[in-house]
């Protein structure tokens, strides 16, 4: 049962982190919560499709279908997070010129929020479905697997709620900055993970592994999992992975600086 708790917790943790940080950020921006229903529908529907067709999917493209789907989902999340960060300064500007009554958040931004969180959740939810149904119930271990999964999901969701309120507790101004920083780190991690799947499926040449920090922080330990979800930590990164990570992180930090500069000029735009 402990195994089930750990497996489900690590999947939930990754998905919850993206969603809760996005939720806190959009909340600080003054977005409505109407986008939660489409996200839930898209994520659960997508995960069911992914999980039930995984065997067929894996066989596609000469046995590379699974990796390509993962790459698509990761790039979709990473790119829409960066797009969201790109849009933030303009949103702040709108908020100031339109006044408090008008919602500054455009429907494009809502669509980006939906795509980013749904794509982040599909893979993790699908893995939980596969673990619970195709492993747990199929092998006759329904009770320990399902109860472990429920506990793991409970712990993961609680951590997500804790992150959400922790970010809101900072106040709107700091919340936007902090969540932009976290989203930048997460998107860099997602894009570097996508690179790793391209290497795994043979589309990119064999990587030259740069270092092995597994002895210091093992990727399968809890701190390793947390760092993986937060920073895209990898104990044995390849050179392609590191390049993608550094480039996208630099881009995200540039956007963060722009956001902070905008907050500086619009001094009281978000002071509440």
């Amino acid at each position: 049962m402990i195994d089930a708790v750990v497996i489900v917790l690590r999947e939930v943790l990754e998905a919850m982190l993206v969603c809760c940080v996005l939720l806190a950020s959009s909340y600080a921006l003054g977005a409505k919560r109407t986008w939660l229903l489409p996200v839930t529908l898209a994520a659960v529907g997508g995960a069911l499709l992914y999980a039930t067709n995984l065997a067929t999917l894996t066989a596609l493209f000469d046995g590379r279908g699974q990796e390509l789907t993962n790459v698509l989902l990761l790039v979709l999340t990473g790119a829409s997070l960066l797009f969201y960060l790109l849009q933030l300064p303009a949103m702040l500007h709108n908020k100031r010129t339109l006044g408090k009554k008008e919602a500054p958040v455009t429907s494009t931004l809502y669509a980006v929020l939906i795509i980013a969180s749904a794509a982040a959740m599909v893979r993790e939810l699908a893995e939980i479905f596969i673990y619970v149904f195709s492993y747990g119930i199929a092998s006759g271990q329904a009770v320990p697997v399902v109860s472990g999964a429920v506990i793991g999901a409970g712990v993961g969701v609680s951590l997500g709620i804790f992150i959400f309120f922790g970010l809101l507790w900072l106040g709107k101004r700091r919340c936007l900055q902090m969540s932009a920083l976290l989203l930048g780190l997460i998107s860099a991690g997602m894009l570097s993970q996508a690179t790793r799947f391209l290497v795994q499926s043979g589309f990119l040449p064999g990587e030259h592994i740069l270092w092995d920090s597994g002895w210091l922080i093992s990727e399968s330990s809890l701190p390793g999992e947390l760092l993986h979800a937060l920073l895209g930590y990898d104990a044995t990164p390849g050179i392609e992975q590191l390049t993608v990570y550094v480039v996208s992180l630099a881009f995200a930090m540039l956007l963060l600086r722009k956001l902070m500069a905008r907050q500086g000029t619009d001094g009281d735009a978000l002071r509440q």
Binding site: T58, Q66, T108
Partner: protein, 139 residues
């Protein structure tokens, strides 16, 4: 509560419209060219036929110890003979892949330097353990 309001439908439509931009004729032509390039690469990649096979049986890896040559790129074919799903995972090799019951999957590995690389089945982390031993001269 406006969480599940009717407005969400509008966002859905907007989302579909945004995604549909990925399907314009120009974009499709671009995808086609990417696919052609990839296909061309695949035919040239066909001259590295080294494939190592690993089976999953009764939630265990058979054989639990694999050997591979150093500094060579190869394919690892994982055949799951159980009816249950399993996830091949290795931090040392930097790989993870779900293999559904009664199906198979391929991952590309290497070039690796000589040494021992451990892997495990994520759904049976205590019992489904294995090692890949890479022999050969240091590059």
């Amino acid at each position: 509560m406006t969480i599940f309001g009717i407005k969400s439908l509008r966002y859905c439509v907007r989302m579909i419209r945004l995604l549909s931009r990925l399907l314009t004729p120009t974009a499709l032509r671009y995808y086609l060219s990417v696919i052609l390039v990839v296909a061309a690469n695949q035919s040239s990649a066909a001259d590295e036929p080294l494939t190592i096979t690993l089976r999953i049986k009764d939630h265990l890896f058979v054989p639990a110890e694999l050997t591979a040559p150093a500094n060579t790129r190869f394919r690892l074919l994982i055949i799951n003979e159980d009816i249950t799903a399993e996830e091949f995972e290795s931090a040392a090799l930097n790989r993870e892949k779900v293999i559904m019951g009664n199906s198979e999957g391929v991952i590309f590995l290497g070039p690796l330097s000589p040494g021992e690389y451990s892997f495990f089945g994520e759904f049976n982390p205590r019992t489904a353990q294995g090692r890949l031993i890479v022999n050969g001269p240091q590059s």
